[in-house]
């Protein structure tokens, strides 16, 4: 199917990239065809640029709108929320209507966070190029797609031309070999990788995740892993398609059917990196050594096993690192050397495109079942579909009986654009992806962790190793006995 741009062994990334090259310049810039373009409320800058040029959308059949960043999670009625926020949602409605785009709006039974909806609806497929004006677009790479976030100028460019100029980044393979210990999840794997290579450790690289521990992950776990590629500085993260991928895609609402599906599977299975393909960098982690992880600072690389202590900047030789650690501990209100399990939390948030899929909710519910939360918290499923399924399984009752709030789907407290905020100075155990200063609201303090760990923090009121709380319980994860 594809014309080989280069002879010799190629990586998964090369195969997908080469197939999308419309034209290549001598300086290495390639004009890439874009197969899926996902838009959310933040796209208004790009639509303004389109308007200024009087341009139309090149491929409306490959372009989809989703209301997620600003949507309220406690009502679906725009009339009762902050008018400035409602206006952001209305702008997307107007812009998608003016160009005849399919919009997954607030009341759509398939609405949800863009990176949850794409896979769930079968819009995300292996071998595609997928872009969205959101850095966590890397999530979709779990299917073996090249998926990356773009800025507003690039969004406008894709709307008008269905293409983007890109230079091939370097290729990096991260292998995680062996089996994860019980109570250790894809989120712990991802945070361990970031703590190992740094928040800019994969800058300029396209990541391929491989190794037996990655292969063993469900699609949900793979989505979590690829989601955090951007927090390691990578432009995208990918996993080669296999039976797990194909089984997930089959019969999704927008997935190809019949002969098209069979043809697709044939193409997708040929995408895996050739055995002797070369990578510019390779990092190998031992899955057995990965423990449940939490962050203590203001960058995702400020992460450590829950059994560890906060670092002490006075004992660091690297002055720039020591300065960062001092800043971070000061902002977070943590003493140097303080045991992480000593840190009391004020609330929990379970949600976001990182950890709001059905498996995430099952893992949190496994810890919470029959227990009460000591702190308030919000559980926001990744989509209306996830919400319905969780309710069919009775998970919502576990959350509400524990004292947590069960709300509708959206980005919610991950970024606080809809008004779901962590109050100033408060500390939140969060299943999201960014612990940046003020990310969850001005003055908020965020600790990143897996859903089971966030649930455990809710139960005890402080950062907690959830393994004893999970003993003898099943998380309901696919493949678990």
């Amino acid at each position: 199917m594809s014309t080989r741009a280069e002879a010799g062994p190629r990586t998964l990334f090369d195969k997908v990239f080469d197939q999308h090259v419309v034209t290549a310049r001598e300086d290495g810039q390639c004009l890439l065809f874009i197969d899926r373009h996902l838009l959310h409320e933040g796209s208004f800058h790009a639509f303004d640029k389109l308007k200024a040029r009087g341009a139309r959308i090149a491929r409306s059949d490959l372009t989809f709108g989703i209301e997620d960043h600003y949507v309220p999670t406690r009502t679906r009625d725009l009339g009762v929320i902050d008018p400035a926020i409602a206006n952001m949602i209305r702008q997307l409605r107007d812009n998608t209507a003016a160009h005849g785009l399919r919009l997954f709006g607030l009341t759509d039974p398939a609405q949800g966070i863009v990176h949850v909806v794409g896979p769930e609806q079968g819009l995300t497929l292996p071998g595609l190029t997928i872009v969205c004006g959101d850095s966590h677009t890397a999530t979709h790479g779990a299917f073996g797609a090249i998926a990356f976030g773009i800025g507003a100028s690039e969004v406008a460019h894709v709307l008008m031309t269905q293409t983007l100029w890109q230079k091939k980044p370097k290729r990096m393979r991260i292998r995680v070999e062996g089996g994860l210990a019980p109570g250790v999840f894809a989120k712990d794997m991802a945070l361990s990788i970031i703590a190992t290579i740094g928040a800019d450790g994969a800058a300029g690289h396209a990541i391929e995740y491989a190794g037996s521990a990655v292969r063993a992950l469900s699609m949900e776990g793979r989505l979590t892993l690829c989601n955090l590629s951007i927090e390691a500085g990578g432009r995208c993260g990918m996993i080669a398609p296999d039976d797990t991928t194909v089984t997930y895609i089959k019969d999704r609402p927008y997935a190809p059917a019949g002969d098209d599906f069979r043809r697709g599977v044939e193409d997708w299975m040929a995408l895996a990196s050739d055995p002797d393909a070369a990578f510019d960098r390779e990092v190998v982690l031992d899955a057995h050594e990965i423990a449940p992880i939490v962050t203590w600072g203001i960058s995702p690389e400020d992460a450590a096993p829950i059994t560890a202590n906060a670092p002490d900047p006075d004992r660091m030789s690297d002055t720039a690192r020591a300065a960062h650690v001092r800043e971070a501990l000061d902002y977070m209100g943590i003493r140097p050397g303080q045991p992480l399990t000593d840190i009391a939390v004020d609330r929990v948030f379970i949600g976001s495109c990182t950890n709001s899929r059905i498996e995430d909710l099952r893992a949190a519910a496994a810890v919470l079942a029959g227990r009460r939360a000591r702190v308030p918290g919000l559980v926001s499923p990744g989509s209306a579909v996830v919400k319905r399924q969780a309710e069919e399984e009775g998970l919502h009752r576990i959350f509400t009986e524990a004292g947590l709030e069960w709300v509708d789907a959206g980005c919610s407290m991950c970024v606080g654009m809809n008004g779901d905020l962590v109050p100033p100075g408060e500390r939140c155990a969060s299943t999201t992806n960014r612990n940046f200063r003020g990310r969850q609201g001005p003055g908020s303090r965020t600790h990143l962790m897996s859903p089971a760990m966030a649930a455990a923090a809710a139960v005890t009121g402080h950062l907690t190793d959830m393994r004893p709380l999970l003993a003898g319980r099943t998380t309901g994860l696919t493949g678990e006995n």
Binding site: G151, G204, G233
Partner: protein
């Protein structure tokens, strides 16, 4: 877009690493239209306290750095979200160049698309430059043709992707360039629709 060849201006040191896009422009400020300007939102929570008063310890508020058009800062600048508003805030404030040891990938490409130069220097040169600006003269000269920074008696080389350099030097806009390839894009799609019959999503009848 205006071409960028060289710039002589006040350079403000901001000795912090990992200034992410959530700090460059907090999410709550992103509802404004670009026409209304984003400059007053730049690094809002670092510059202003809870009551909206300027924080005296923030270099951007110091009299000697007023009118700065060059920002010097530590590694991993602009990591985080793809929000182009982070670049709008820098540009609308008046910055035309940021000097740092590393940048978030998406931030850097957004910067180029708005004529803002992300100049990558070594960690050592960055530390020397930060110290030099703190103590001495605060004017720096950035030369994009020579890829060189002169400030505080230092001459420091910087790196930038050659393609981006050409784009900035010429002030090119991608869209016009791309539209000149319209025939190639057409031909690609015609062939691709045969090669990948499964590409276009269609909702199944249930």
């Amino acid at each position: 877009m205006d071409a960028f060849k060289s710039l002589e201006a006040i350079a403000c040191p901001l000795p912090l690493s990992g200034i992410d896009t959530d700090q460059l422009i907090p999410a709550r400020f992103m509802k404004r239209s670009r026409a209304d300007g984003y400059g007053d939102y730049l690094l809002h929570d670092l510059r202003f306290d809870d009551l909206g008063q300027p924080r005296p310890d923030c270099p951007l508020n110091a009299p000697r750095w007023q009118g700065a058009r060059i920002l010097v800062t530590r590694r991993n600048f602009g990591s985080g979200s793809s929000r182009e508003a982070a670049v709008y805030a820098l540009v609308d404030y008046g910055f035309a160049c940021v000097i740092a040891p590393s940048f978030g990938d998406i931030f850097a490409s957004n910067a180029i698309n708005n004529g803002l130069l992300p100049a990558t220097v070594s960690e050592e040169d960055c530390e020397a430059l930060l110290a030099g600006l703190e103590d001495g003269d605060c004017i720096a000269r950035v030369d994009l043709e020579a890829c060189e920074i002169r400030a505080a008696n230092l001459v420091i080389p910087f790196r930038i992707d050659p393609v981006w350099r050409t784009k900035l030097l010429n002030g090119w806009d991608d869209i016009d360039l791309t539209l000149s390839h319209a025939a190639a894009i057409e031909a690609f799609q015609a062939k691709d629709s045969i090669d990948r019959p499964w590409l276009v999503p269609r909702l199944r009848k249930s």
